[in-house]
């Protein structure tokens, strides 16, 4: 950091504050809207200060839901989203760390072709293969289930590549020392490789959790029952109402609630996350 003198430092701070304001203002408005009376918002007379309906609106949002479009309480949607995001994050990490381990540490026939096949799936996200994926999930009777929500999103080339790159930087001597110390492949994986990958796993968890939490298209397609709805799909459904007023305070409260888990994950894992991205602990 370069220490700037007087005036220039104030300029820099002002610019930064403007940046923060631009980012934070919509969030603030969402929060304010979630504490107002719906009629007030509908009239276009919304105050810029929080209103007095905070407890009432959030209670209704979490435990009751809107009276119109989707009658599902948001608490349940959040649970669905949470389960899906956790399954995706944990599942992806588990699958990809194992596949990366196989690719880096074992010599087996067609090792490179297999690696390239995994690599190529980078170019095939769910949106591209949505029809066949839907067909498979439907045929397996996994519509409207947590398995259907998460399984198709678990196979991951990105995470496999990341772990592969990391494993390749682990010195070969560690493996050799383990072999001499009597550790077989599973022990080496469990006792040495996993602890060393801890920070990488944490960084990946943060990214994947947010990715899973923010899924929209896939849950929209395969969930038909209201009680399997995720929060991202729920918000959208709340806004489009056919013959009633959109309940904006509840929509905004849902948006604020939808933001909280990712923020919590980032804040809680920030230290590990940053270390995972910058540090190589070997």
């Amino acid at each position: 950091m370069v220490e700037e003198e007087g005036f220039r430092r104030y300029i820099a701070h002002i610019i930064l504050w403007i940046g923060i304001a631009i980012v934070a203002f919509p969030v603030y408005i969402a929060f304010v809207a979630s504490t107002q009376d719906n009629a007030l918002i509908a009239n276009g007379q919304m105050s810029l200060l929080p209103g007095g309906h905070f407890f009432e609106v959030y209670y209704q949002t979490i435990f009751v839901g809107t009276s119109g479009s989707t009658r599902e309480p948001v608490g349940n949607m959040m649970l669905n989203s949470l389960v899906m995001a956790l399954l995706i994050a944990v599942g992806k990490i588990a699958i990809s760390i194992i596949s990366a381990y196989a690719i880096v540490y074992f010599r087996f026939p067609f090792r490179m072709p297999i690696f390239w096949i995994i690599f190529v799936t980078l170019m095939l996200p769910v949106e591209v293969r949505i029809y066949p994926t839907y067909k498979i999930v439907a045929d397996l009777h996994m519509l409207d289930s947590y398995a259907g929500l998460s399984l198709p999103l678990i196979a991951s080339a990105t995470a496999t590549l990341l772990f592969r790159q990391f494993f390749m930087t682990v010195p070969d001597e560690l493996l050799e020392a383990s072999r001499i110390d009597g550790a077989g492949p599973l022990r080496f994986f469990w006792d040495t490789l996993l602890p060393l990958s801890r920070t990488n796993m944490a960084a990946l968890f943060v990214i994947l959790f947010i990715l899973g939490w923010n899924q929209y298209l896939w849950p929209l397609l395969i969930t038909t029952r209201d009680d399997m709805q995720t929060i991202q799909v729920g918000i959208r459904k709340m806004i489009t109402t056919t013959d009633a007023l959109t309940e904006w305070p509840i929509v905004m409260a849902t948006a604020v609630l939808a933001m909280l888990p990712p923020v919590f994950v980032v804040v809680a894992m920030q230290k590990l996350f940053v270390r995972g991205l910058v540090e190589t602990e070997k």
Binding site: P171, E173, L174, E176, A177, R179, I180, D181, G182, A183, R187, D191, T192, P195, L196, R198, E281, K282
Partner: protein, 362 residues
């Protein structure tokens, strides 16, 4: 406690590269064997084959009377110290040393007593709870040693364990390793490219070049009677002066010694004296002083011979043709450009065949 015997050991890589071309070495029980040679001579590969980290293409590796070619490293009863130590970064010093023992299902009390004992010997007791990254290079080196000795294996294998340390620490650790090995009396194989380490540590010195053993024996015996010009120039610093015997000037001086069929003459720098006299039995070379290096106890004189000559078969550390290094006491220093005469006694001469592969006893 075990002998290690290598019988005609070969290693060919899948690409067809022949790294080890048939090596026979016998290391007696409790002996300290040093494999020395230039980079790429196959010494590390050979050590890794003994450890079981490389497969054996041909021949037999025998540890304590058991052919171990097909046996996993963990079951060979060996312990290895790696060049970069290869400590488990996420484990404490204690756990690093205990890991191999626990994997073998040893009781925790026994593990603790062995690790504590090793830590005491290596002066690591106060650091048992630290992580490797909190240790200095020398301390890490000692942990790596500790990990090897707690196992009480039949054989210690060292793969250039000192090359990551600074010069001073390297000498200290060299002495430590020797003392430790003497005390434990465990058969050891040690790989290094440093001929000084090799000379000081070895009971048995194995000089390797190009995947083959050039000479095996007691370090001093090798120094005094190198079997090939490669060994002659590799062991000893500065290296032995090698020159062709073809020029008339040298041929005439060697006449009548029964060594007239030798192609290469070798003389160690310290076997020369600067003199005006012609010794009764020996070789005299007229030199022009090109450079001198005064290092205190001794002075190295770099001179060129009057007559230039053809280069001898390429060897590491070989001098430019016609250049001769002479070691004289540190109190002397001839001025640069001066013409001097240096003489070496007949019994100090080393004679080799023209291709440098055979030593000829005068």
């Amino acid at each position: 406690m075990a002998n290690v015997t290598l019988r005609n050991v070969r290693k060919t890589y899948p690409g067809g590269f022949e790294a080890i071309k048939g090596v026979n070495v016998d290391v007696g029980d409790g002996q300290f064997c040093v494999l020395v040679g230039p980079s790429g001579c196959g010494k590390s590969t050979l050590l890794r084959m003994v450890a079981g980290l490389e497969t054996v293409t041909g021949g037999e590796i025998d540890i304590g009377g058991r052919i171990v070619n097909q046996i996993e490293p963990a079951d060979r009863d060996i312990a290895m110290v790696f060049q970069n130590y290869a400590l488990y970064p996420h484990m404490s010093v204690f756990n690093n040393m205990a890991y191999g023992l626990r994997n073998r299902g040893m009781k925790e009390a026994e593990v603790k007593s062995r690790v504590d004992e090793a830590a005491r010997v290596l002066e690591l007791t106060s650091m048992l709870e630290r992580k490797p990254r909190q240790l200095s290079g020398g301390q890490r080196q000692r942990v790596a040693m500790g990990r090897a000795i707690v196992r009480q294996p039949k054989v210690f294998l060292f793969d250039e364990p000192l090359s990551n340390l600074d010069a001073k620490l390297r000498i200290a650790m060299r002495v430590e390793i020797r003392k430790l090995q003497r005390r434990l009396n465990t058969t050891s194989i040690y790989v290094t490219h440093d001929q000084l380490e090799a000379m000081t540590l070895a009971d048995v010195l194995v000089v390797m070049n190009g995947g083959q053993v050039e000479q095996v024996g007691n370090p001093l015996a090798i120094y005094e009677k190198p079997a090939t010009t490669f060994v002659a120039s590799f062991i000893g610093a500065p290296p032995m002066n090698l020159m062709s015997t073809r020029p008339e000037e040298i041929r005439s001086q060697l006449a009548g010694s029964g060594a007239a069929d030798a192609g290469i003459l070798g003389i160690r720098p310290e076997d020369f004296v600067i003199t005006d006299q012609t010794p009764a039995d020996g070789v005299v070379l007229p030199l022009t002083v090109e450079a001198i290096e005064r290092v205190g106890a001794e002075t190295f004189v770099y001179g060129t011979r009057a007559q230039d000559e053809q280069r001898i078969a390429a060897n590491p550390g070989e001098l430019p043709p016609g250049e001769v290094i002479v070691r004289i006491p540190g109190s002397e220093a001839p001025p640069i450009g001066e013409k001097i005469r240096v003489a070496a006694m007949r019994q100090k001469l080393h004679l080799f065949s023209g291709d440098g592969r055979t030593r000829i006893e005068a």
